[in-house]
Amino acid sequence: MATVETNLAPHAHVEEHEHHEPDSFWRKYIFSEDHKTIAKQYLISGIFWSIIGISMSVIFRLQLGFPDMELGFLKPILRGWINESNKLDPNFYLALVTMHGTIMVFFVLTAGLSGTFSNFLIPLQVGARDMASGFLNMLSYWFFFVASVLMFASLFLETGPAGGGWVIYPPLSALPQAHISSELGMTLWLASMALFIVSQLLGGINYITTVINLRTRGMSFSKLPLTIWAFFLTAVLGLISFPVLLSAALLLIFDRSFGTSFYLSEIYINGEALPNVGGSPILFQHLFWFLGHPEVYIVMLPALGITSEIIATNARKPIFGYRAMIASMMGIAFLAFIVWAHHMFVTGMNPFLGSIFMFLTLIIAVPSAVKAFNYITTLWRGNIRFTPGMLFSIGLVSFFISGGVTGLILGNSALDIQLHDTYFVVAHFHLVMGASSAFGLLAGVYHWFPKMFGRLMNEKLGYVHFWMTFIGIYCVFFPMHYIGIAGFPRRYYAFTSYDFTKNIFADMNSFISIAAIITFSAQFLFLFNFVYSLFRGKRSPQNPWKSNTLEWTAPINPGHGNWVGEIPAVYRWPYDYSKPGAKDDFIPQNVPYSQTPESNLPHENELIGLEKEIEAQNLNDQFKQPH
């Protein structure tokens, strides 16, 4: 590659850093240290896991929606888990629910979302050649890969995968003899999650370091795109909360496999007392939710960051309240750590303590509302272009609001006693965190696909995909609120045995299941679009969305090192859209104020004097190119 460039531009060879030989296939695509390749690896893994995770939900929705249905046709896939009477095995139902949760929360919306977009966008948007440590970044992916292999392997165990819910509360999860799904499946779950946490920590450490230390000249924190702010705060959340889950998981592993009693006390199984004394199962819940709640924001913040960027770009307007957006994300990140016990209102907690956690929980509504209003005000009177990415971003805002509002209800400790562990909770978090975060992921893929693969995705298919998914998701989760208020508990195999559930809402459950199947099938449109556009999509121009951020100044297919020659310097914030007086309706971040006298505001004219200083700054180039 270097030789080709020498022919075109004689000086290019000098700038090419020295040990740049063509990498072997393995180094380039498999054990790559390049952030863009690692991002794509995460994306493909995330897509793979989401297919599995969502398929699982469709299978248990069949059971819930149509309890009398003959499921014999699933025998080729599920084998022994469809019993003689062609019904889904109840134990496997529990495993399906558990694995759906685990896979979607951790493997798709944490690894697939943060892993893809933090890796891809952080170096490109802050103006760095690569992550701070390419090696750690590669290690992060491969830890994730091994975690994935273990989790995947657990699906094929004779005793089935873990089945104690994705929250794996002991004692159920701590005692292999407690339930079939607490056997080897749970061991593999814990081993897989321990590796997953290591992977997330390696990734997060890299993200933080890159954002803080490897920004290009002029890229101060107040000029960072909101995507980067979101990824940065997400990584900080992960860095602080994931080690706690690791501690909790390790103690659980010791309880399971070495006979300690951290979470176990005075338990009788089949009339026989276990030797464990003095443990506390509530302790696990505290440790788990200390991660578990920030995890919600680890899933949500990147999606919100992506949305901020896409909405501003496609509304052709500066984001409304840039600093308020940052402040509210910081507020959310801070509050995330002091609200965990609202998941534990019914554990016999002191009601006074409960009301403190209730108060703190409800405060989260403030920064969340700031964000929601800012999205709407950014859209207000904008010159909106409805690209598929934009539609998914607007969809996210819709889900974020309608799911967030029920959060106010659940956050009340008194109301939560009725609604705890019902379908109301399921509806709430699927809307506010599941669907909105998934929409952020999809929006991001549609928006940055041209940067990732140099081609555009098909818009028409994107529109069909959006509307089917958007309407479908509301049809799935909106009715669940009613089922939840009626008291239907989550994770139950069937509602036929209880007087208060057996005669009502069967039709509603069928409706939800049908909507789920339609929504699921719409995702294959996306999958087709993705694969088709990968090879046959229209070739993308360098800046297809006329966006301001730095990644669009890099070549269409950026090579290792992202920019040929010097990394661009940054002079302005990333949201100069439709600036009065400007020639175009966008001014990229690397355009100095001295070049845009027609649109400068008075204080910006004063900044022209600083441009020389910015240019004289340390290049901050990892590849040590000549100044």
């Binding site: 006979g259 505290h286 200083e613 340390n618």
Partner: protein, 197 residues
């Protein structure tokens, strides 16, 4: 608060140099942050569990005090190595790193002896969580220390290859930072165990 943020005068902003720290060093500090959270989880779990009663009382074997002294000493020697490297005194640097390494190994051995004495006192890993936590603290601190020993080995190798000197201190600084962290971490855990006994 929001209005305050909005009203900040943008013109006062100076263009700051973006690079503030060597990225590798920064990575080490972030790793330390996550380790702190890891152990904070254990110690909070300890407190929560202890507050529930049914807590085994036992005396902490004296060997843990001695091992603490050894670890403190090794922290001094790694600092000596750093000072030596700053002055390009390679012989002293190599000796000091080696002594730190040996002290680290001795510390691990003494921790193990501590376990043996705990078992003699009939405080087992399996049983009342009071004892289990003791083992957990020492075990995971020990694992972190083994990582520290590996980092020291790399530093020693670099020291013999003359790639650590007054103008290239990063590797040694990272090793020293981590080693001091291990020291402080153990002091915290040990003081915690004594205080909340």
């Amino acid at each position: 608060m929001k209005e305050e943020l909005e009203s900040i005068d943008y013109t006062l902003e100076e263009p700051d140099e973006t690079l503030s720290m060597n990225p590798k060093k920064f990575i080490m500090w972030l790793f330390i942050v996550s380790s702190v959270m890891f152990f904070a989880a254990f110690t909070s779990a300890y407190l929560v569990r202890r507050a529930e009663g049914n807590w085994l009382e036992y005396t902490i074997p004296a060997v843990f005090s001695y091992s603490t002294a050894v670890l403190l000493f090794s922290s001094l020697t790694i600092h000596l190595a750093y000072l030596a490297a700053k002055k390009d005194r390679f012989g002293l640097m190599r000796t000091a790193i080696s002594i730190t390494f040996v002290a680290g190994v001795i510390f691990l051995y003494m921790q193990f002896q501590g376990w043996v004495q705990l078992v003699d006192q009939k405080v087992f890993f399996v049983g009342n969580p009071a004892g289990s936590f003791m083992y957990i603290f020492t075990l995971f601190h020990g694992l972190h220390l083994i990582v520290g020993l590996i980092i020291l080995l790399f530093a020693l190798k670099a020291a013999f290859q003359l790639s650590i000197h007054a103008k290239s201190l990063n590797q040694l600084e990272i090793a020293a930072t981590y080693w001091h962290f291990l020291d402080v971490l153990w002091l915290y855990l040990f003081a915690f165990l004594i205080y909340f006994h």
